[in-house]
């Protein structure tokens, strides 16, 4: 009988629990996601958006306000997004009307035919209204338009104007850009700054967005050209010649370097070989590094969305920053919107894509709403080209980013980039820390590429 009594208790427990859950859910539902409820109730006039960036939720709400079409936005975690879309579309799912992708996912999506042909919908008419590289990234290998992004993500160097003035006698972005013109010049600049008591970068990964001006894979062959090796040498030199503050990108000291002085870490601390310093904890970090020499960092290399990252972290140095170009044109990230090839509401979906990417009013709204994201619509960028950003010393960032974006060569993007870049980065860091010799590291790199992508021909 014990079992029965136990079951009774368990059932009662489950019931109270579910009742509690019910009570609160109706309460929260009223205040919380009312848009979701409405979307579920809506019938034919609902547009379903599957996205990995919650930006599109805001776009969806805006579209709903403007047109009255119910938009149901389903946000999926970026890491699982490709799995979700692949399974659903290969399984013949017609529910999502809008699907999105980041540059490194796009080629797979194109090859599998997930995106509908936008040229059929009339995308050709809009050619030239969007920054060129974004337009090209949205095309498959046959040049058919499949997706469009609402933002551009060109990379640049964010530098301290006051330090530039002191060390180089000018803070003009054009002039400072010359100090980053190529890898050798960057090394020289780094040395000059070190002699003046500053460090050029907080980490040695700052140049990564400018690392290659060629494609990793050309005609099915792995392409490691001289520029790649030059980049490798640069990173190794920055590290071994003691030219950075030895912070790791995205760690606490790296963020701290945006707002002022940071201690110069040692190579051991950077590699976490010495556990005595917890780089993730501001207080214990300050304590442990009290005796270390302090320095101020000159520059950060980030894509245009770094404008927002910097804004949140610069603190008192706000207004003292500037942005200039790097040794090569590069970009990082970006969300590309397209229509699912299985969607039954392609016309409505196309209207939504146009609304998000090609509508000047939306672009204006997004610039304001996101507080400084960089849109891809040329007319909007033109309109805002004289907008001065006070955090960056009144620099006119939109025209700067437009210039940078126009220099980007889209053709060097391949679907292999993520894996190959990671492997190349791993090779570089094992060489710079002396864990492996150059030959060993390169062998590991080639092996990794060969085993991950058997279809790529590797010549060592």
């Amino acid at each position: 009988m014990k079992f029965k009594r136990l079951m009774a208790i368990a059932m009662a427990g489950a019931m109270t629990l579910s009742m509690a859950a019910c009570g609160s859910s109706s309460e929260g539902g009223a205040t919380g996601n009312s848009s979701n409820g409405a979307a579920a109730a809506g019938g034919d006039d609902t547009l379903v958006v599957w996205t990995l960036a919650s930006d599109l939720k805001d776009f969806g709400e805006r579209y709903q306000e403007k047109t009255g079409v119910t938009v149901e936005t389903v946000v999926i975690e970026p890491a699982d997004y490709p799995t979700k879309v692949q399974t659903a579309l290969m399984g013949g799912e017609s529910e999502p009307d809008i699907i999105v992708g980041e540059p490194q996912m796009l080629e797979d999506f194109y090859d599998n035919g997930f995106f509908a042909d936008l040229d059929e919908m009339g995308a050709k008419d809009y050619e030239g209204q969007i920054v060129d590289y974004v337009w090209k990234v949205g095309q498959d290998s046959e040049g058919i338009q499949r997706a469009i992004s609402y933002q551009i993500t060109p990379a640049g160097f964010y530098y301290r104007r006051d330090i530039a003035q002191e060390v180089f006698g000018t803070d003009d972005p054009e002039e400072i850009g010359k100090l980053f013109a190529d890898y050798d010049t960057i090394l020289q600049t780094a040395q000059t700054l070190k002699d003046a008591g500053y460090r050029i970068f907080a980490s040695d990964a700052e140049t990564s967005y400018f690392s290659g001006d060629s494609a990793w894979v050309v005609d099915g062959k792995l392409n490691v050209n001289d520029a790649r090796f030059a980049y490798m040498d640069l990173v190794i030199d920055l590290y071994q010649k003691d030219l950075t503050a030895y912070a790791n990108q995205w760690s606490t000291p790296w963020y701290q370097a945006m707002s002022g002085e940071v201690p110069i870490l040692t190579a051991e601390i950077q590699n976490y070989e010495d556990d005595s310093v917890n780089v993730w904890d501001a207080e214990s970090f300050a304590e442990a590094t009290a005796d270390l020499e302090k320095t101020t960092v000159f520059a950060f290399g980030l894509p245009s969305w770094g404008v927002l990252t910097m804004r949140d972290n610069v603190g008192e140095t706000s207004g003292k920053w500037g942005v200039c170009s790097g040794p090569a044109y590069g970009f990082g990230g970006g969300t590309y919107i397209g229509i699912s090839s299985l969607s039954e509401k392609k016309d409505l979906a196309w209207d939504f894509v146009k609304f998000c990417t090609l509508d000047e009013e939306t672009a204006d709204w997004w610039i304001e709403f996101s507080e400084g994201d960089t849109v891809s619509l040329i007319s909007a960028l033109d309109k805002h080209k004289d907008d001065a950003n006070e955090i960056y010393g009144g620099e006119k960032l939109y025209s700067f980013w437009l210039d940078q974006a126009q220099g980007i060569d889209y053709s060097k993007v391949t679907k292999y980039d993520k894996v190959i870049n990671d492997a190349w980065g791993a090779a570089i860091s094992s060489i710079k820390t002396g864990q492996a010799s150059r030959d060993e590291a390169l062998t590991t790199f080639y092996d990794t590429v060969e085993s991950t992508y058997p279809e790529i021909q590797v010549t060592r």
Partner: protein, 275 residues
């Protein structure tokens, strides 16, 4: 005296172990009260004052209680089905002697070794054809075929149910189903509870399949909802909210565990056959 020292050392070791097990939970609860910036900057056991802020932010994204309710709708049926039917199968395989018994058991063992992720696309296709996408049926009914539970319970029955008990029941005129319900289940209940707790935790935390099968925000289970917090640009600011969500999601597991673990202990001490 020596005994006392020994005991003292033992207790000390146990206390340290218990602390080691509890600390992550405490940390999680403390972090649920701190802001994202605080979390990424340092690590402490002193609660901060941002609980309300995290709560508001969390509920701004989705309704946690709705997610819990959805998760319960999936995990309770899946657990009950996933324990009752395997127990029946295990009983059949352990007690009845029939041709093909070994073969069936062998094939169940083989199926245990195939990871479910392999057939994901096929499973999704099947669900689309049967119009089961966006429903909880694909998440609950297949739980009946729990190969691992069958294997475990079969071994458990072989070791804890004496054949004489079944024979006694038959002589007294109980039919087979009655025997199973009234005599076998109480004996193997500890095993069932163990597998039940595991199944519940597994179903409650299941992420991949619900993520694939469910396409509507209002059908999402808790783990799928929580993952969407990471899709935002404000990952740093969301840290506190993520901790809060995780802390809330653990509560039902703790409840189930406290209820059923007591049962595991009480049943083990009860003997079935006297003498």
């Amino acid at each position: 005296m020596g005994d006392k020292i020994k005991k003292g050392i033992l207790y000390l070791a146990l206390i340290i172990l218990a602390l080691a097990c509890l600390l992550p939970f405490v940390l999680m609860i403390v972090n649920a009260t701190r802001s994202g910036a605080e979390i990424s900057q340092s690590f402490t056991f002193i609660p901060s004052t941002h609980l309300k802020e995290n709560w508001v932010r969390l509920f701004d994204y989705f309704n946690v209680f709705k997610g819990m309710w959805n998760s319960l709708l999936v995990s309770v049926p899946a657990t009950l089905l996933g324990v009752y039917f395997p127990a029946m199968t295990a009983y059949g395989l352990a007690i009845y002697k029939f041709r093909g018994n070994k073969l069936i058991f062998g094939s169940i063992l083989v199926f245990m070794m195939i990871p479910g992720q392999l057939s994901l696309i096929g499973f999704y296709q099947l669900c689309t054809k049967l119009h089961l996408v966006n429903s909880y049926i694909p998440l609950t009914i297949p739980a009946i075929a729990a190969a691992g539970t069958i294997f475990f319970l079969r071994q458990y029955i072989l070791s804890s149910v004496p054949m004489s008990l079944v024979e006694a029941a038959r002589i007294d005129g109980a039919n087979e189903l009655y025997t199973f319900h009234r005599i076998i289940i109480p004996i193997i209940a500890p095993g069932m509870a163990t597998m039940g707790i595991m199944a519940f935790i597994g179903n409650w935390n299941n992420y991949l399949l619900p993520m694939i099968i469910l396409n509507k925000n209002d059908k999402f289970t808790l783990p799928v909802m929580m993952a969407t917090l990471r899709a935002s640009l404000d990952i740093q600011a969301n840290q506190g909210a993520i901790y809060l969500a995780v802390a809330l999601s653990v509560i039902p597991i703790l409840l189930v565990f406290t209820i059923f673990s007591r049962y595991i202990i009480s049943s083990i001490s009860a003997g079935a056959v006297k003498g």
